[in-house]
């Protein structure tokens, strides 16, 4: 008996892990080195429901709960954090806001191809001068009657180079400050939709993170998500869910680092014994295992709260903060246990170390999450 976990969740974990081990693990090192988005695997993930995890079956989704979503992202990230990121962002900050704030026509038109993995989603908020301070965005959308004329320069867009459906945060009323921001759905192929060069990232290298520019791009009024001026509210709601995905991703990276550290500690001999038998290494492994377990429980609890209709903003922020910092610490310890080999690309912990770092930055930095938690706790 485990909290938050039913037999269905065990089955999800077992069956997703089997897929990941078979299809993704063998190529994870190469797609990181080549910075290549593995379409050959992504095309198999679509029919399995990975791109519509919580989408109702009537819209082509798997209709799973948030706990299942966290399990899928953790398991993907355990073998390839870049793909875990692709699935997390697609589901939580693109598809979820469409389901939550879209009208019936938008849901019917936009969600099914995303849920089936035929189209990839992205969330376009960050700009060169707006990141943690989302209200500082400079992208403009001018009302032209039946459409908006949009000019935007969005950077660090996860899935950017492959995304078809992008939630674009734009300023529709320059005089209205925070209430002048709206979300428009921009679709690849629209004249003026331009994908920039891929970012040459330190980690998550298989994810095609890029800039996206909209230059005099006409976006029809029917692609306005929610009402005009609701942009920040939509963004914050999306990020409540999005940070759960990133937290699950961080747990996956930490779990992988722990497993590799244990494997190595049980093989490597120094001073005549396996290094895992040395008290110093054993203590590190104990700390790693404890922190991974704690991080996972925070993620599952926040997911469970969401599934049960309870507030989860504080809990998801705590999960994201703790899990991302845990991933960095655990990956660092795994490198330390490997010694010099841990600093070599011959061993996967080097990749986990690079992948872990950004989880403390994107979808809200650790510092922003501390602010969110402090507001929730202190009032």
């Amino acid at each position: 008996m485990e909290p938050f976990f039913s037999e269905k969740h065990h089955a999800v974990k077992r069956l997703v892990r089997a897929f990941c081990e078979r299809e993704i693990a063998p190529i994870a090192k190469d797609i990181d080195a080549q910075a290549r988005f593995p379409w050959e695997v992504v095309d198999k993930m679509g029919p399995l429901g990975f791109f519509g995890i919580q989408v109702p079956s009537s819209l082509g989704g798997a209709q799973m709960d948030t706990v299942s979503y966290a399990i899928v992202v953790e398991e993907l990230s355990r073998v390839c954090a870049g793909l875990g990121l692709a699935v997390s962002v697609h589901n939580s900050v693109c598809v979820y806001p469409l389901l939550t704030f879209g009208n019936d026509e938008q849901r019917q038109r936009l969600v099914p191809p995303l849920a089936r993995g035929e189209k990839i989603g992205a969330f376009c908020l960050t700009e060169p001068n707006a990141g943690s301070d989302a209200s500082a965005i400079e992208a403009t959308a001018i009302d032209q009657g039946d459409h908006y004329l949009v000019n935007a320069n969005k950077v660090f867009v996860t899935n950017g180079a492959v995304a078809d459906t992008c939630l674009m945060f734009v300023r529709t009323d320059p005089a209205a400050g925070r209430k002048g921001i709206s979300v428009l759905v921009a679709q690849r192929g629209t004249p003026g939709f331009i994908t920039g060069e891929l970012e040459d990232l330190s980690g998550m290298r298989c994810n095609p993170v890029s800039s996206i520019r909209l230059v005099d791009c006409a976006i029809p009024k029917e692609n306005l998500l929610g009402r005009q001026g609701m942009g920040l509210a939509i963004g914050l709601t999306a990020l409540d869910t999005g940070r759960l995905g990133i937290a699950a991703q961080a747990v996956g990276i930490a779990q992988a680092a722990l497993e590799e550290a244990v494997r190595y500690a049980n093989q490597r001999r120094q001073f005549g014994v396996l290094i895992g038998k040395h008290q110093a290494v054993g203590s590190m492994i104990a700390d790693m295992a404890t922190q991974v377990e704690a991080a996972r429980l925070l993620v599952l609890r926040a997911s469970w709260l969401k599934d049960n209709g309870a507030p989860f903003t504080k809990e998801s922020a705590m999960a994201k903060l703790f899990a991302s910092e845990t991933a960095s610490i655990v990956a660092d310890m795994a490198v330390q246990i490997h010694g010099g080999y841990g600093f070599s690309k011959s061993y996967p912990v080097e990749r986990y170390y690079r992948d872990a770092r950004v989880t403390r930055i994107y979808e809200g930095t650790s510092e922003i999450h501390r602010m969110v938690i402090a507001r929730c706790v202190s009032g």
């Binding site: 485990e2 089955a11 209709q63």
Partner: protein, 262 residues
């Protein structure tokens, strides 16, 4: 030709029994999984049913926890799942298990093909399939790697001792399935939800299938496990020759032959 295929499966325990606990392990959802050697049998059945039409039923005997392994078979694509679960069947050896399964197969009604995994991951006898075919008085092919319908009969290929044997079998017949027989089954998330959120596994008792309890459970089991201790493992070193690709292929084959990968 629509086929009625029955696949016998088992929920196996992942952990070896501890000496301190004697020779039995309490089965829990956490330590029990669908026998990995049954997956190729189910995959082969589903491929056949997809190509020829028909229904795939999975059948198991075991404690209530076995229900979850059967749920997994539903998630993987089986049309129907039946569990014989009865305290009077506890402690059954392979003979008693075979009697119960054979009775359940007859209870299920007319069938065309009865499939088994090559063995189980937790007891490794490989006896139930051949014994069931004998009890049911039907032909049996061991280690089937493919089953191809051919003008009313079936061409069954078997991989045994490094040879490919071909048989022509009339339905109904039984077969155990080679671990490499069928492609791997992936499971869609929606299928997992449908299988686990529903109450589709039919749970029956010995009385439900008309089984005389005297022939099941410990009472009906002619064999007894007297003791169980871990066997000493001798380390063996083998050199694989050839180029890198050939070595990798040979290593993969060894892992497959050991039943660790399908």
């Amino acid at each position: 030709m629509a086929l009625n295929i029955i696949v016998c499966v088992k929920s196996v325990v992942l952990e070896a029994p501890s000496a301190a606990l004697g020779s039995s392990v309490e089965r829990t959802p956490r330590n029990s999984v669908l026998n990995p050697f049954d997956r190729p049998a189910l995959a082969l059945a589903l491929e056949l049913a997809k190509e020829e039409g028909g229904l795939v039923t999975t059948l198991s005997m075991g404690p209530p926890v076995s229900c979850w392994a059967l749920c997994e078979t539903l998630a993987l694509g089986a049309d129907r799942a039946v569990l014989i679960s009865d305290k009077k069947a506890a402690g059954s050896d392979t003979m008693a298990t075979t009697r119960v399964l054979a009775k359940a197969v007859n209870w299920l009604g007319p069938w065309d093909i009865l499939l088994f995994g090559s063995r189980t991951a937790d007891s490794d006898t490989g006896q139930v399939g051949p014994q069931a075919s004998a009890l049911l008085n039907k032909p049996f092919v061991g280690m089937a790697s493919s089953i191809i319908p051919k003008e009313g009969i079936f061409l069954v290929e078997s991989l045994t001792d490094g040879f490919v044997e071909q048989y022509l079998a009339n339905a109904p017949f039984a077969a155990s399935v080679h671990p490499n027989a069928a492609s791997v089954l992936d499971c869609a998330l929606a299928s997992i939800r449908q299988a686990f959120d529903s109450d589709r596994v039919e749970v029956l008792t010995l009385a439900d299938i008309g089984m005389d309890e005297a022939f099941a459970g410990e009472k009906g089991s002619p064999t007894r496990v007297i003791s169980m201790t871990p066997a000493p493992k001798a380390k063996k070193c083998a050199f694989i020759e050839g180029g890198a690709n050939e070595q990798a292929q040979a290593l993969l084959e060894k892992i497959r032959d050991a039943g660790l990968l399908f």
